[in-house]
């Protein structure tokens, strides 16, 4: 099965830095996250989640959790900022 992130990793010679998490922001309306380790905070304005080695904060408006799986999650809404701490 085709996996977008796997294909990119194969194309890269040194792909060790892409092991922790992967995020795709689609037009600021949908955020796809791979490699999260649990949501820390959930609200309409801010969703923060853990990854292996830190915390990612997503800020926006009318944010909604449209899918939550053990490794991946999808956030919809008006995404304004994504910050990794």
């Amino acid at each position: 099965m085709f996996n977008f992130f796997d294909e990119i990793k194969k194309a890269l010679k040194n792909n060790s830095f892409v092991q922790k998490y992967n995020i795709v922001n689609m037009s600021g309306k949908l955020l796809y996250v791979e490699g999260h380790a649990g949501i820390l905070r959930l609200s309409k304005e801010e969703i923060s989640f853990k990854y292996k080695g830190g915390v990612i904060i997503v800020e926006g408006k009318d944010l909604m959790l449209s899918e939550l799986m053990p490794q991946t999650l999808k956030i919809t809404g008006e995404i304004k900022r994504v910050e990794a701490l």
Binding site: I39, R41, S43, L65, L68, M69
Partner: protein, 381 residues
């Protein structure tokens, strides 16, 4: 930032994303951990726990486990599990805090104890039990109140108890030269004068309150010397007693039915009541109040009110039917007025008829000894 006060839920159910989106509108949701597709853990604020649980159950989610943590949870557990112990500890602490101090001054042995209590409370140098000098207080009371002959103080519990004895004045010191006065109306039959000045003679008709022997003597030079009057005076006295019979009278008596109301009050506010009410048409009450316990920490007062049912009955009888009883009653009333050591010389009675009533007047003539110095003297004082 890691939260210390939280309510952790572990739930199972479908469409959890939608649930979380709904939940985060009203509550703060944090640390969501998706374990499997239909299985996750999440935390909410400690105080939101109950509401969130209700919503979870309404949405048919299966709650696998719950856990509460934080200061408020520990406080709740402490209060529910150790509330009694905490109360006792607090009571002991408060008791220890106030036990070294005098809370009450109690004066015993005199009628005007309020005045002495007020004086002691005003002049108490300190309320600390250990710092109070009892002997100083005793001296102070003795010095300030002339009528007091003996004072002793002691600290009992948190009360300063002061025992007081008033000055006892012997009768010869108090009314040494008071005259002998007759307590009855009568006729003098015999006189044995010991000392003093005689003011009556044998055969004199005496009224109640009349002086028999004065407390002085006059010598041949006309000088007057006060002296304690002493004499044995015999008198014939008349004592009257009355009893009235009514042809119609209303007698009220208890039926034996009663209602007992019990209420417990604390600082004047009702704390408990057994809720019984009195429905009797006629009743009389008896009320008793007492402290539930003897300490001053929680002054619960138990008030017991007993309502006795009464009934009235109209009794009709003629004087002739009750004549003997009425005469006997009049005689008893008459005898009550005698001291008990008199020699009864004559008895008679008189019947006085009125409108709807008949009165019996019983008269006893008795011979009485008036002994001067003590008996009569004390009576008049």
């Amino acid at each position: 930032m890691k939260r210390r006060n939280y309510h952790l839920f572990e739930i199972k159910g479908l469409n959890q994303e939608r649930f979380f989106n709904q939940l985060c509108k009203d509550f703060e949701v944090f640390e969501i951990d998706r374990l499997q597709k239909n299985h996750c853990k999440f935390k909410v604020k400690y105080h939101d726990g109950k509401k969130v649980k209700k919503i979870l159950l309404q949405n048919n989610y299966q709650i696998i486990s719950e856990k509460k943590a934080g200061f408020f949870n520990n406080l709740h557990i402490f209060l529910t599990s150790y509330g009694l112990i905490a109360g006792i500890v607090l009571s002991v602490f408060l008791y220890c805090l106030q036990s070294p101090f005098i809370q009450k001054v109690e004066v015993r042995g005199v009628e005007n104890y309020l005045e002495i209590e007020e004086f002691v409370e005003k002049n108490l140098p300190t309320k600390n039990k250990n710092a109070i000098d009892i002997s100083q207080i005793e001296h102070m009371i003795n010095y300030h109140f002339d009528e007091i002959s003996f004072v002793s103080g002691a600290v009992i519990g948190q009360s300063l108890v002061i025992n007081v004895k008033t000055e006892i004045v012997p009768p010869e010191m108090k009314d040494e030269f008071a005259p002998i006065v007759s307590q009855y109306d009568g006729v003098i039959t015999d006189i044995e004068l010991v000392q003093g000045t005689l003011k009556v003679e044998v055969g004199d008709i005496i009224q109640k309150g009349q002086i028999l022997v004065e407390g002085y003597v006059v010598n041949s030079q006309g000088e007057q010397f006060n002296i304690q009057p002493k004499a044995n005076i015999y008198m014939d006295i008349w004592v009257e007693g009355e009893a009235t019979h009514f042809n119609e009278r209303l007698v009220t008596y208890r039926t034996g039915n009663k209602v007992i109301q019990v209420c417990v009050t604390l600082f004047g506010q009702q704390f408990y009541s057994n809720g019984k009410t009195c429905n009797f048409e006629q009743f009389e009450t008896q009320q008793t109040s007492q402290m539930l316990n003897k300490n001053n920490i929680l002054p619960f007062v138990v008030t017991k009110t007993t309502y006795y049912e009464l009934k009235s009955q109209k009794i009709t009888s003629t004087f002739e039917q009750e004549k003997e009883n009425v005469i006997e009653l009049a005689k008893q009333n008459c005898l009550q007025k005698l001291q008990g050591c008199e020699i009864i010389k004559k008895e008679n009675y008189q019947i006085i008829e009125g409108a709807g009533s008949t009165t019996v007047r019983y008269v006893i003539t008795a011979n009485l000894l008036v002994q001067g110095e003590n008996e009569s003297l004390h009576k008049q004082t």
